[in-house]
């Protein structure tokens, strides 16, 4: 690992980026990360990323919400204090179920939406005050950056240049390329 260096290739256009990604992958080089200012369509496919399972878990979060609401309404309305409120039947949960539908629906959505969002933030390591994950501030504006970890820096440099990179940087050559350095420069 001592010889591994990080090389960044900066591209000026999303079409160039897509072509570069495809060409680099064709050459059998592993792309470690791509930073883009907006979601570039089919980039995940070009990179061979697996489909995200965030919506699958969202389904179970929703199911949890429904169960929670059904259990809560049953416990409160039929088990703990089975009272007659305005002639509504409180003998069993099923008899008064229509009145609980709004609550069950809302809690399903509530749990699915919120827990999914927490999962999303957690999996992406996003939290208030986290250090910016992009090595170059221009990648949130109009530049696209490919990051490759390699032992053969020259080869990767050439690959980037051949695929139309506007700028190629090796991390460590002149300090870490990050926001703070850019700001001082």
């Amino acid at each position: 690992m001592t010889n591994t260096k990080i090389v960044y290739g900066l591209y000026g256009d999303d079409d160039d980026l897509m072509k570069a990604v495809k060409s680099i992958r064709k050459q059998g080089i592993t792309i470690d990360e791509v930073y883009t200012p907006f979601p570039v369509h089919h980039l995940d496919k070009a990179l061979g990323l697996k489909k995200t399972r965030i919506s699958d878990i969202g389904f179970f979060y929703g199911l949890f919400g429904t169960t929670l609401a059904a259990t809560m309404t049953w416990f409160i309305m039929n088990h703990d204090w089975a009272q007659d409120i305005g002639g509504k039947p409180a003998f069993s949960w099923g008899q008064n179920m229509p009145a609980f539908v709004p609550i069950m629906f809302e809690l399903t959505v509530f749990c699915a939406a919120h827990f999914m969002s927490w999962t999303y933030l957690f999996r992406n390591k996003l939290y208030p005050g986290a250090a910016p994950q992009n090595p170059d501030p221009r990648t949130t504006d109009d530049k696209f950056m490919i990051e490759i970890h390699t032992t053969d820096v020259e080869k990767i440099k050439n690959v980037f240049i051949e695929t139309g990179a506007e700028e190629v940087t090796v991390k460590g050559d002149y300090g870490q390329v990050n926001n703070l350095v850019q700001e001082e420069a």
Partner: protein
């Protein structure tokens, strides 16, 4: 990437914008200082907000008796304003969620402001259920919290309790949906910021976003699923709000058409409010390239469609009132008792503002006119306020027992609180407009090459070269 789009479609981003231009345009209001116009507007809104706070404090300190309510009409401006604000809050989610599901690209210039409008409108709406309580300090009793009264619980049969769940779910999910969309845009502002304080603040707000490929993949997935969840949420929330009336035994309220009709009305008034706000925003922020005539026209078409649904619902109510053969229905909403009764002016204000004037939007020159759109959007919101007022007050004023028939007159406190919520809304909206990215950069940049004016022209030229 192929960017083929039919040339029939008008461009959604005009001028020769590049990705960097979009970033600059979005960051400009945040990075520049507020002008005189902003401070004037903010000052007025803030004074109105203070008036509202004063009136609320007076109500809570003295009692609900300072309002114009009486023993017959025990809901009036409070719930009218509540439903009005919730209704306005619906267009935001409709634009961002429903239009996302339908892959409507024009939503992108509009959705951020519409979502902000949603959130700020729901804040105003949420005030009313609390302040219209006789004992608002016991408000927390509505939550099913285990307690020392042998664990005494709320009653889950009441639509007012469903409201608590609906509004809190709607508010919190809207905020999360909005915020997740804002994270990449805050990152743009963070990475451009030159002042240390601004960099710090936007650094916190952007959660360390870096635009990694995997993160974008998850971002698109969660946006889609949240849109899928928000769409039924919008419909359910206003449905539940309509249940406050529809599940009652009051004639005129007890009506099965309420849930869809309320939702249509909410979208109608919500889009009108978006038009009012964007009509000003596009001028003040010079966003003419993003919020084009076509966007305004699309939104006017939604207004015409939902306005049509509302008009059909009015006629349905009238028809059913007659068809039911119930003598009490003669005094409801759209029946002769309402059209010629003591509240005839409120009824006809509604017909004028909700059916007749928005009907002008059927004409292409009017629905493509910025001026007329602005005027009509305000008229619609006045009309939709009257709709809720009419539903609530006209029906309550002439009920089953003639001995309890009465009229309603608001006091200055009723009016003051309503003015106050408008002030509060604009305080929040004006602060938002100066500190938040008002256009979603990440989304606009995805459509620039397919729907940008210069790229569309570029395409035709390319095709010529090939031939």
């Amino acid at each position: 990437m192929s960017h083929y789009e039919s040339q029939v479609r008008e461009p959604l981003i005009t001028g020769h914008k590049t990705y960097h231009d979009i970033s600059n345009d979005i960051a400009r209001p945040i990075e520049s200082k507020a002008g005189k116009l902003w401070w004037t507007a903010f000052g007025i809104a803030f004074v109105a907000f203070l008036l509202g706070i004063g009136c609320i404090a007076y109500t809570v300190g003295t009692g609900i008796g300072v309002w114009g309510l009486n023993r017959t009409i025990n809901w009036a401006w409070d719930i009218t304003n509540f439903v009005w604000w919730v209704g306005i809050g619906h267009a935001g989610t409709l634009i961002s969620a429903v239009l996302l599901l339908f892959r409507q690209k024009w939503r992108m210039s509009v959705n951020r402001s519409a979502e902000a409008m949603t959130i700020f409108a729901v804040v105003q709406a949420a005030l009313f259920p609390v302040i219209h309580m006789g004992r608002p300090w016991l408000m927390y009793w509505v939550f099913p919290i285990p307690n020392q009264f042998g664990s005494l619980w709320p009653n889950f049969n009441s639509p007012l309790l469903w409201d608590v769940f609906a509004i809190s779910t709607y508010f919190s999910v809207s905020v999360v949906f909005w915020f997740i969309g804002l994270i990449p845009d805050f990152a743009l502002i963070r990475d451009r910021a030159t002042k240390p304080f601004a960099k710090k603040i936007y650094g916190i707000l952007s959660f360390g976003w870096g635009g990694k490929a995997k993160h974008w993949q998850r971002f698109e997935e969660i946006s889609l699923v949240l849109a899928g969840l928000c769409t039924p949420l919008v419909f359910s929330v206003h449905t539940i709000v309509s249940f406050d009336f529809a599940t009652s035994v009051i004639k005129g309220w007890h009506s099965t058409v309420y849930p869809p009709y309320f939702v249509a009305g909410a979208i109608f008034s919500g889009f009108a409010m978006v038009q009012t706000l964007l009509g000003v925003l596009r001028k003040v922020f010079h966003y003419e390239a993003y919020i084009t005539r076509k966007h305004i026209e699309y939104m006017n078409i939604v207004i015409v469609v939902t306005g049509g649904m509302v008009a059909v619902a009015y006629l349905t109510e009238l028809w059913i009132a007659w068809y039911s053969g119930s003598r009490y229905e003669d005094f409801t909403y759209f029946s002769p008792g309402a059209a010629t009764g003591p509240y005839w002016w409120a009824f006809w204000a509604l017909i004028l503002c909700n059916v007749l004037i928005p009907g002008l939007l059927w004409f292409r020159p009017i629905r493509r006119s910025f001026f007329w759109t602005f005027i009509i959007s305000i008229v619609v919101n006045v009309g939709m306020w009257f709709e809720r007022f009419d539903i609530i007050v006209i029906n309550l004023s002439r009920d089953y027992l003639p001995s309890s028939w009465t009229m309603f007159m608001p006091t200055f406190v009723d009016v003051g609180i309503f003015v106050g919520t408008n002030g509060f809304f604009f305080v929040l909206y004006l602060l938002y407009a100066r500190t938040f990215p008002v256009l979603p950069q990440a989304e606009l940049k995805t459509i620039l090459k397919s729907s940008g004016e210069s790229y569309k022209k570029h395409h035709t030229e390319d095709e010529h070269h090939e031939h």
